[in-house]
Amino acid sequence: MRRILYIEDDLEIGSWVQEDLEQRGYNVQWLKTGEGAEKAVINSDLVILDVMLPGLDGFTVGQRLKKEAPYVPILMLSARTAVDDKLHGLQFADDYVTKPFHPDELAARIEVLLRRSGLSVSNEIRLGHICVNLSENTIVDQRNGEEIILTGKQYQIFMHFIKHPNQILTKEQIYESVWGEQYMEGDKTLMVHIRYLREKIEKNPGSPEIIETIRGIGYRVKQ
């Protein structure tokens, strides 16, 4: 069971979100103020934090929680104007959802954040004919049960896709997060790596199904 610490002062929204998330299979601890959050965060896998709270505001609470437990992702919920909050909030928060949010969107964001910190509901992700086991860090071809072995960079690129599911990633974004360097115009390194990666995981590297090319923009892995 994934434990979510939910800090929200509005009773109507709070009870509805708690109920919805519990139906989706999360264990939700709901606090009405930031008090006691620092203690509760230790036993949580994710924090959903409202910006406007009585007493200490959400930003302050969030910063304290990050200090207490840096590895627990924080998802900010805000009903204020996005202009101010984005500048303010995203410095420590891992993601940001503006009210009125859709419950499905909230759940999707939670799932992405949990996956990024290695705490997804399911440890196995099926992508076409391959199965990725996140707890064992293995990729298995289900047609013959053989494990696919990737090189270091190929694995890093692949995992970057897994952590950003359904998101279109530009080659600059992928290069910079995998190599940790500024992307140089016209650099073909990433394309070469993706070609080799596709040769290993795609059924037919000529028409890839797992790593999709979005013409003119980048790549995407749908889940």
Binding site: D10, W16, T81, P103, L169, E172, I214, G216
Partner: protein, 450 residues
């Protein structure tokens, strides 16, 4: 007004002092002169020619009817008293008699012509020696006697001093003049220095953008100016603080308003979502979808409204930086790609390999692009086409759709405020957008304001 509080009075005093120094010093020197300097010198008995003349005539009178010996005796007596003077007398026959001193060169006998000539030569104020001629007795038949005093002996002590010290007087005048000029120079130099200090304080603002106050040392006109300057700085600081407070209040108000509007919307959406899980007719589900759709639209509208308020009052954050435009447009479209994909749009992108840079706020550019994408998604859905292209050479960004055009009817209105925001934001970043719109689509072009 006290003297130390007025530069004008101070300078008037300096000028007054300079004017008064002549008579005052004259008075001072005179006092010095008569009281201290030549205390040992008695007023000279030769000094006054009139006195000498009176004395000589009186003595001559007193010798009326005197014998020659008596006259000789008298002259010797006078000579003793007036040792500087020389004297002689001539008897009634015109013979020169007693001469004192003996060496005195005078004619031995006096004809009337010689006498007259002598008298003529020794007349006047300047003639040296000073000569007095007196007839002996009253009857004018007893001869005459002559007294001669060298002019040099007749000088007063003051006159001799004056001669001795005349260069010192010139020197003193020059010195007084020099001192006056020097004092004036110091006076104006100090004023200038203080004015420059003030000018410097005014033209060098502190970090806050307002100059610092300066210390007031004197209470004169410049001091008052400094006090006024400090007062002005104080006023500026107060108004700056007030302005900040008002800005804070406005932001707070907008944040609260946004919060108060969005919170119930969230609740409504939550309940609509819960309702959808109940057993409903198709029509009921359709209604819920419409509610959900409208809630999303309302949320967007609130955001736009508040952004618009912030923009028009100049309170919208603006952090321009050198931005890779191709990358920015590409990333922003990547986020919208799934939305258009889901709505069945045909997408065409053309991003060049080489990029170009603009000095813009990337957050704002994203917001602008989002607004265009949103409009296309909402209003140009029946065209089912979106094209995003960049011309790196001309530095132009194109967004194209095949919708009914901006003049066309759309199911959802309210694009106006979104486009106003776009215009305001682009204007701040020295960009502009042009649009070609018709029944078969719209082409938006973003480029630099030329």
């Amino acid at each position: 007004m006290k003297l130390k509080n007025s530069l004008l009075n101070q300078y008037l005093l300096i000028i007054l002092f300079a004017i008064m120094i002549v008579p005052i010093s004259f008075l001072g020197i005179s006092i010095l002169f008569f009281n201290y300097l030549p205390t040992d010198v008695e007023p000279s008995k030769y000094q006054n020619g009139t006195d000498l003349e009176a004395m000589w005539h009186e003595e001559a009178q007193s010798l009326a009817g005197a014998s020659d010996d008596q006259i000789n005796e008298k002259l010797t007596e006078i000579k003793k008293e007036y040792s500087e003077a020389s004297m002689f007398w001539v008897d009634e026959t015109g013979q020169t008699r007693e001469r004192l001193p003996e060496s005195l060169s005078v004619p031995p006998s006096w004809s009337p012509a010689l006498t007259i000539d002598y008298m003529k030569k020794n007349r006047g104020l300047e003639v040296d020696p000073f000569t007095v001629v007196a007839l002996i007795g009253k009857k004018k038949d007893e001869g005459f006697m002559i007294l001669q005093v060298p002019r040099s002996a007749m000088l007063s002590a003051g006159q001799s001093l004056q001669e001795r010290y005349s260069y010192a007087i010139i020197l003193a005048v020059v010195a007084v003049l020099a001192i006056f000029i020097f004092i004036s120079w110091i006076f104006f130099y100090k004023i200038r220095k203080r004015l420059l200090r003030l000018q410097q304080a005014m033209s060098s603002p502190a970090e806050s953008g307002i100059p610092d106050t300066i210390s007031v040392e004197k209470r004169d006109e410049i001091g008052q100016l400094e006090v006024s300057f400090n007062e002005m700085i104080h006023q500026l600081e107060i108004s700056r603080v007030r302005e900040k407070e008002e800005e804070m209040l406005r932001r707070q108000l907008i944040a609260n308003l946004s919060h108060d509007l969005r919170t119930p919307l969230t609740t409504i959406r939550g309940h609509a979502f819960s309702l959808k899980k109940e057993a409903l007719s198709d029509k009921g589900k359709e209604s819920l979808d419409l509610i959900d759709n409208k809630i999303g639209y309302l949320g967007q509208l609130i955001e736009n409204l508040l952004s618009y308020t912030l923009l028009t009052t100049g309170k919208y954050p603006y952090y321009p930086e050198r931005t890779d435009m191709v990358r920015l447009v590409k990333t922003s479209f990547a986020a919208w790609y799934p939305v258009f994909e889901g709505a069945g749009f045909q997408m065409e992108v053309e991003f060049p390999e080489t990029t170009f840079y603009w000095e813009v706020d990337p957050q704002r550019v994203e917001r602008v692009l989002d607004n265009f994408y949103q409009n296309i998604y909402r209003h140009a859905r029946n065209g089912a086409y979106i094209g995003v292209k960049i011309d790196a050479h001309l530095q132009e960004i194109f967004i194209e759709d095949h919708g009914p055009g901006m003049g066309g009817e759309s199911i959802e209105k309210g694009a106006g405020i979104g486009l106003s925001i776009v215009s305001l934001m682009l204007k701040d970043m020295k960009l502009k957008w042009e649009t070609e719109t018709g029944e078969h689509g719209t082409m938006i072009k973003i480029r630099k304001r030329s």
